[in-house]
Symmetry: C2
Subunit: 566 residues, 2 copies
């Protein structure tokens, strides 16, 4: 069923819920005025509806494949890629001096959201390139920037991230890929990387790999890692392509979903690379790339949830099956089907609001240099990633359920959403790692950023009391419960926090979602039924999650491996 | 990774948790003494470990296919089928006069659980046949029984259920398949059925279809439906096979999972059928079949959860990835990984206990004729089905998560569990329909069966107070909360109940699970850590679910289709 870009939701969220007006009021983003925003959203929406969405099933049915060392992409993907790059959508948030639009990340996030709904497997390609552009902007030399970024933005070249190895997944510091100084300023990179998203393609002139490797004098662990640009073809200074580099695609993975996106095992055999950032400073560069990629992946979850919701809503509105409590209508009139659709819609709204609020904080931090905005963004990033992708999986699951038996048939397309989105809860740091980031690194400020946000939520709830007394009381109480839970968390030892990290993150997302729904209902009374659904039916989960968080690690380790085997 | 039959869990559950001793004490099941039980479990366990489990990946990779109207099954499936039937496992609970073992359904449920863990796609075949045997035992003429049941038990023939049509899924009464009287006692059946599990195969001599159809004078809706036996080959009176019947497999579905199980579109063109039960009495016969099939499907969820848990546990015990809080061990030593494994194990135990308690109630009802046992079974059936299959899906999801990126790679096998188990939450009545059955039909006794069960749970919690004061208090409080929730439910209008049916069922399952874990911990202190995990970390969810249940339908219908489109 055709995807429809949710433009009115974007307009409403930007204008009335997540405070995009603050971004547009900064000097840096003075261009982001309403008519520009409207043009961006509607033009990207058209691309996604008309050009990208029709590719989604094709990529699933005819996966990318490796033929004689060359990746052949799915039917139509090359055209889709050209349409994305021709529209300038890769460089929407990139700096104008390198050919980017220089617009807020918040707008890029909206566009990525739509592209992810339309065709997640293809959208992964520009998402990787965007991450690479950002890493280069922050860490590369001026020569590298000038050579690479304009071509990455134009789509002439693509970018990838090469972190994972067989023995080094979540533990990046265990990597074995080596780099040696060639003596001419370049490096020779040797090793094998796995799970390389869009490791190759047949539609871009070059594929630019950012590769983590260790120099001979690099310390063990993450501190001894450096980052290198290792392109498939060695570019000449004028940007024309020289000889092929010593790297190859060894194989492609046979995956549960995202069949249109080639996931490669890459082999580097003394491949020529250029240092990005400082020697042994690779992790800092990777973190730049990963932090925004985390928000990007969170929005992939939202994107698939939106698409799965739309398809389920259409199906439920058309499928007739006996009498309903409202008469002879479609199954949407059954209370339990309407409940599922309501939950799907409420979760999509919550997760999208959290993601866009995170993007706004990133833009404000960049535009103002205010550390409080940076701390806000840092706090929201793991929540946006983990909750957004949880929502992607949960909503896709419910979408299949709404379809009944038809949901299990691949031609329906409902199951594909669930297969495609599954990995978003794993890559860019599993959702467990996101949660540990939230209770660990992001609480190293003693909870300051969290308490400041909770203070704003409570103040907003108090201000809403006159208009929506019951809902605002629920939100205030929940925020207060989360405050107490956070205080308890801060007294806990690190591994006790880790034991409760996932339920804590979920509780935080519940409170945030309720807050944004309350904000929405105040701004527009037509949003009240959904807000009420969220706050009365879904918010109560947060108390169960906080109860679990308070239990700590002891009871978990009491489940010895022997006891688990049973 | 190899499947290991969880024999000690079965022994413990039967002996100490779900009261199988009561079943063995009845005259009807006097054979079900410990040595017999042990022989059954260990022999079936060996079959599943050695013969069936190795077929699971093969069926996924090489699906059953239709060639010139003939279904070709996956490699090894014919041998697996013969091993199942040779062991007598189809007729374990069937009446001895027809060649069955006459053992309790509870034991058949344990065996089906193991077979489902080993190879769900193949296990579906005997599960369908078992349902057919039961329907025939209750509703067929003596001649039909004598002709069919021994061959169904021996595996010479297979059985299927033909309910669904394109326009008649959950609304069975909308079916259009016609039956006409031939005048010789047989009927001519014409119509098309979809989603027919194991609609054909290449390893049984005959395939016996139980088909719902409407006679010319049948009333509209479910009251005018009759049930017919329509075999692929028309049997002679001596059981030898006569000519082929006028029926065929039109196509096989391309499904998310269960690739080894052919799901057929069946066409009947004046096919010869024999009436089962009375004319226009087909639904009663189907309900016999469906009720036990619901328990059977619930255990399919448990079965896949067990297999997914075992694989995740093995992976987490072997995979090393950096330092853990306990040293240099495998990732099982990370608190969040151990938390996931604990939740998986706790859920499997809860769901299996609920399913086996339901089976015990069915056996006791049959052995004693006591209406209270029948009411207990009726109450537990939708919970066993919906919660068991929810657990199947949730645990398979967590299994993928434990595997990290490897979980997304099909060769790992973790993803297949999730694909295979997905449909169990849909077929045999979606889990939403199960929940509506619980709050509707199963509460037509004014809640008597529910309150009696809650009374037992509270009494058990009180009795446990001296030994486990904190956990027993939690369980007692939760049962009391569920009692109050049930009282509130009973005052609600039917569609208000439907609106909260799914969360109510979940809350009920949480309280039941906590009760069985508490019982387990009292019986065997080594089970205490898992019981504590369940009661302290997972049980609190029930309050959030009851809060949602109390909201009723109004807020759901306030989400108009227009508001959902947004």
């Amino acid at each position: 069923m055709p995807y429809r870009a949710p433009l009115s939701d974007f307009r409403f969220l930007l204008g009335r819920v997540v405070g995009f007006g603050q971004v547009a009021a900064t000097d840096l983003f003075a261009e982001a005025q309403p008519e520009t925003v409207e043009a961006i959203l509607s033009e990207a929406g058209r691309l996604c509806e008309n050009t990208l969405a029709p590719l989604n099933r094709a990529g699933d049915k005819e996966p990318a494949r490796l033929e004689n060392g060359v990746v052949r992409t799915s039917p139509g993907y090359a055209d889709g890629y050209r349409a994305i790059t021709a529209g300038g959508w890769v460089g929407i948030a990139a700096a104008p001096e390198n050919g980017g639009m220089g617009l807020p990340l918040t707008l890029a996030t909206c566009v990525n959201d739509m592209m992810g709904s339309a065709c997640l497997a293809l959208q992964l390609n520009p998402l990787m390139t965007q991450g690479q552009i950002e890493a280069l902007e922050h860490h590369a030399s001026d020569a590298i920037k000038a050579l690479y970024i304009p071509k990455l933005i134009s789509g002439e070249w693509c970018g990838t991230m090469n972190l994972t190895e067989g023995g080094a997944g979540s533990d990046v510091g265990a990597l074995r890929t080596k780099a040696e100084r060639n003596g001419d300023g370049t490096y020779a990179v040797t090793g094998q990387k796995i799970f390389i998203t869009w490791g190759d393609n047949d539609f871009s002139g070059n594929v630019c790999h950012l590769v983590l490797a260790r120099l001979p004098d690099g310390a063990p662990g993450t501190r001894g890692i450096s980052l290198f640009m290792v392109p498939k073809f060695l570019p000449n200074d004028d940007g024309s392509l020289g000889p092929r580099n010593s790297l190859k695609v060894v194989s492609l993975e046979h995956k549960l979903g995202l069949h249109g996106s080639p996931t490669a095992v890459m082999s580097y055999e003394g491949a020529t690379g250029w240092l990005i950032g400082k020697e042994h400073g690779g992790m800092a560069a990777m973190f730049t790339m990963m932090n925004n990629a985390r928000l990007g992946v969170g929005m992939q979850g939202v994107a698939v949830a939106e698409a799965a919701f739309q398809q389920a809503l259409t199906y439920a509105s058309e499928r007739k099956q006996g009498k309903t409590p409202l008469g002879d209508g479609a199954i949407i009139d059954h209370a339990d089907v309407r409940r599922m659709l309501g939950q799907m819609k409420a979760e999509v709204f919550s997760a999208r609001a959290i993601g866009l609020a995170c993007a706004v904080a990133l833009d404000m931090a960049r535009a103002t240099g205010d550390a409080a905005w940076a701390a806000r963004a840092a706090l929201l990033t793991p929540i946006a990633k983990a909750y957004g992708t949880d929502v992607g999986n949960e909503v896709a699951y419910m979408g299949v359920q709404v379809h009944g038996g038809m949901g299990f048939i691949e031609e329906t397309g409902a199951a594909q959403f669930g297969r495609d989105v599954r990995v978003t809860a794993i890559y860019e740091g599993t959702n467990g790692i996101q949660a540990m980031d939230l209770v660990g690194r992001k609480m190293m400020d003693g909870g300051e950023a969290a308490f400041r946000l909770l203070g704003e939520i409570e103040a907003a709830a108090r201000a809403a009391r006159a208009h929506l007394p019951d809902l605002s009381t629920d939100v205030w109480n929940a925020a207060e419960g989360l405050r107490e839970g956070t205080e308890a968390l801060l007294t806990m030892a690190p591994n006790d926090r880790n034991a409760g990290a996932v339920p804590y993150l979920r509780a935080f997302a519940r409170v945030l979602g309720a807050h944004y729904h309350l904000t929405a209902a105040l701004a527009d009374p037509s949003r009240l039924p959904l807000a009420r659904f969220m706050i009365r039916r879904l918010l109560p989960e947060h108390t169960a999650m906080l109860a679990q968080m308070r239990e700590g690690a002891e009871g978990i380790y009491a489940l010895t491996p022997e006891a688990l085997v049973g």
